[in-house]
């Protein structure tokens, strides 16, 4: 009994060191000046007109992306849950593609497509006037919305699917017209879900670093994440300012998460679905069907075809000046990535090393944590879960800044700052929630009596865990490993902030080639990266769906 308590206490201390200490380092950096507490530094940072304007534009960006992604996601959610299009399940996978494409790669694709003498001007010279519009806030909002909309679409689609058709049928039987049913019976059940989805999209947008650091930087649109990065890395380095902005961002994120929890508790309904709740879809007129097909095609075109075509085409073009014309195609860029110098191949190897090692450590640690959450009882379990899921709630740039400050501070005790190990550590912290969530959901599917039956049959706790529990959660652990592996392979924030000198990963390699004009090589690596993600994701899907 006591041994158990000590183990949980040790785990909580360990998680605090891992996750909370870096966060406290940020507050300390923001609030302490030469050893004394002082708010003035933080306050003056926020009051600087440049920073105040940045905060304003971050929030504006967040709001605009919520609006545009809602306009894309809500109709799609309805189409794929409540109309005859719902049976085309393969769209679930297709609409994951924009979400799975690393945002920095998608925005590079857009830049290459839209810029002066870019692919669009070559293909459709008459559309050249769009270039100026694109390189403005409008273009940034569009690119970010086309990245994030699948998230809201999936949420809203599931919410709509959980409303049983019988509720609508009951309304119809009692003589309520379709528009009134939609307004009075259907939408009120979804407002809570929509509010949650909108808040999450907002948090995701102001936490995003990839698109603002490529497209945003090109048009001089600064947001939280890019400024935190700039103050922490570009001379004159001002860590205090960086930390102050990070503190504000943490505050905003936590506020929104609290709001989200409040709404979940108050405004969402537990819809009972049981027998007879079969979904009956609406039949549509031909005109409506055509309109829907055009809409879906447009979304697919803008969210996938343009960025992916642009990246792929750029990777295959010999001389950019000649553009898309016969004879100007080559696979030389791909060969150059591997042969021209050691950079490309090294970046790949570093990324694979980081992905494998962090996925493995996170899988083991995540399994231990998920198991403890289950074993510890409600109170202690909630503490463990709360701390360990924190990295998912906060922008990665904030966490990585905290890790940088903390391990810089304790370099004499744990000398990993400036080595590859701090990157491994950072990846583990960032991606730990994935494994925890996958394993927790695997646990929720197995009855507690399975392990109890093992004990009754004479198996000790360890034997019972190894032979009964572990095989049953193995698939969850595997999924967590794969997910971490995919995300870690193309992670951008950690290497941009704390990579050791001269260590490039796939993401920073792509970035550097893009910035320095070797677009062909950069985009070749980007295509490799996307294919790698896609193949891994397909394997993952296969593994998850292989049910007995």
């Amino acid at each position: 009994m006591n041994g158990k308590k000590i183990a949980f206490a040790a785990l909580i201390i360990f998680l605090s060191l891992l996750i909370l200490c870096p966060l406290f380092s940020i507050f300390a950096e923001a609030l302490f000046q030469d050893g004394h507490f002082s708010l003035s530094n933080a306050v003056s940072t926020i009051q600087e007109s440049e920073n105040a304007a940045m905060i304003g534009s971050s929030i504006l960006l967040g709001i605009l992306v919520v609006i545009i992604s809602s306009a894309i996601a809500l109709p799609l959610a309805y189409i794929f849950s409540r109309t005859q299009f719902a049976r085309y399940r393969f769209f679930d996978v297709i609409f994951m593609i924009p979400f799975m494409t690393p945002p920095y790669i998608a925005s590079m694709g857009w830049i290459l497509f839209m810029q002066k003498r870019g692919l669009m001007q070559q293909l459709f010279p008459s559309l050249s006037f769009l270039t100026d519009w694109f390189f403005s806030l409008g273009g940034l909002v569009m690119v970010m919305s086309f990245h994030v909309f699948p998230f809201m679409m999936t949420m809203m689609k599931n919410a709509m699917l959980s409303v049983p058709s019988s509720l609508d049928e009951a309304g119809a039987v009692f003589g309520v017209s379709f528009p009134t049913r939609l307004r009075k019976l259907f939408l009120p059940l979804l407002t809570g879900n929509y509010a949650i989805g909108a808040l999450l999209v907002f948090v995701k947008t102001i936490s995003e670093y990839g698109t603002p650091s490529t497209l945003g930087r090109r048009i001089g649109f600064a947001v939280f994440t890019t400024d935190i990065h700039r103050y922490a890395t570009v001379a004159p380095i001002e860590l205090g300012k960086s930390a102050s902005l990070a503190s504000v961002l943490i505050g905003i994120c936590l506020l929104i998460w609290m709001l989200q929890n409040y709404i979940t508790a108050r405004k969402t309904y537990n819809l009972i679905s049981g027998k007879g709740s079969a979904m009956r879809t609406r039949r549509l007129s031909i005109g409506t069907r055509v309109a829907i097909i055009i809409f879906i095609a447009a979304v697919v075109f803008f969210s996938m075809v343009i960025p992916l075509f642009s990246v792929t085409a750029s990777s295959l073009i010999k001389l950019r000046g000649y553009g898309l014309r016969p004879g100007n195609f080559t696979i030389g860029n791909y060969i150059a990535v591997f042969t021209e110098d050691k950079q490309g191949i090294n970046a790949l190897l570093v990324s694979i090393f980081l992905a494998v090692s962090s996925a493995t450590i996170a899988a083991i640690l995540g399994t231990v944590i998920a198991t403890s959450i289950r074993a510890a009882g409600k109170k202690v379990g909630n503490i463990i879960e709360g701390i360990s899921l924190l990295p998912e709630m906060l922008p990665s740039i904030v966490l990585v800044l905290g890790i940088m400050l903390f391990y810089n501070g304790i370099y004499k005790i744990i000398p990993i700052y400036g080595t590859i190990w701090i990157m491994v550590l950072s990846y583990v912290i960032l991606f730990l929630p994935y494994t925890i969530q996958y394993v927790t959901s695997a646990y929720s599917q197995i009855s507690p009596s399975l392990a109890a039956a093992g004990r009754i049959c004479g198996a000790g706790p360890l034997y019972s865990f190894m032979h009964i529990t572990l095989p049953l959660i193995a698939r969850g652990i595997m999924s967590g490993w794969m997910m971490t592996f995919i995300i870690a392979f193309r992670e951008l924030v950690t290497p941009s902030l704390i990579a050791p000198t001269n260590t490039l990963t796939v993401s920073t390699y792509i970035n550097r080639q893009f910035e320095q004009g070797s677009v062909g090589k950069g985009m070749s690596m980007a295509v490799i990266c996307i294919l790698f993600s896609l193949v891994s994701l397909l394997i993952l899907n296969k593994a998850i769906n292989r049910k007995r």
């Binding site: 009596s449 039956a453 093992g454 009754i456 049959c457 004479g458 198996a459 019972s464 032979h467």
Partner: protein, 320 residues
Amino acid sequence: MDIQLRNITKSFGRKKVIEGLSMDISSGSFTTLLGPSGCGKTTLLRMIAGLETPDIGEIFLGGRCVFSADKKLNIPPEKRGLGFVFQDFALWPHMRVRDNVAFALKACRMTENLDKKVKEALHAVQLDDYADRYPSELSGGQQQRVSFARAIIMEPECILFDEPLSALDAMLREEMRGELKALVSERGITSVFVTHDQSEAMSMSDRIAVLNHGEIEQYDTPENIYRKPATSFSARFIGSSNWIDSASMFRPENASFTRQSSSDLEYKATVYESEFLGSSYRVLMHHGSERWIAQSDRRMEPGTSVPVYIDKNSIIVIGK
């Protein structure tokens, strides 16, 4: 194996589930813990198995103390040598039937004659041909048989059953009662059976403990509980009861609409419904504020006032 529970008390948070409960279960008997949901019967069973820990009290299995709060003794479930059949069967979905049944032998490193023992256990539950199936490939009844086989393979002296038939449909449930009873009585296994179904309890048990709010209302043979309920809860929970006042009642089968003997007591009741049962009618009546039930061979119209005759000796007076 006889079982002794001494002063068992258990709370979940602030809620007391079992309070100061003591009980003896004799070796080789079939004993049922019967009560409504939330009465603590499953908790009690799990405490005997070692899956829950009592706050206070002692538990003895075959004279061996397996739990004592005072002595800080708590033998873990794997060392108590019991069998347990779970409500949801708790078959391991990743193992074939054969491995589910053999698990206990392997866990205890008793692998001698393993195949033969597994075969015998599966034969005992008539699943000889199903050894290589996965649990998901079996019907509910077959799954339950696998869990019986798993419970008997270690030849335990006692098996605990936690509502093992409640997940099965009505037809199968009746059939399995007999099989289950035969399986344990042939082997002389002490059985403790938890259920909320009174007809299951009555048909299978040597003794029934009626539980309510974590306390034993009555612990006796099924016949005695039916004929001489000790408390009004026992009387109401087992069988139908027609109440004359708060302390006296009679069973429906003892009522008649015609006078059988001159010493019969006569009551007035008003019919509000007659239900056709095939061989007879069930007549539902009001007697004051009480609802009565009786059998009749003809339909009685709602609203009719009827005399109800009861033999004086059939009226049960309840102490508390």
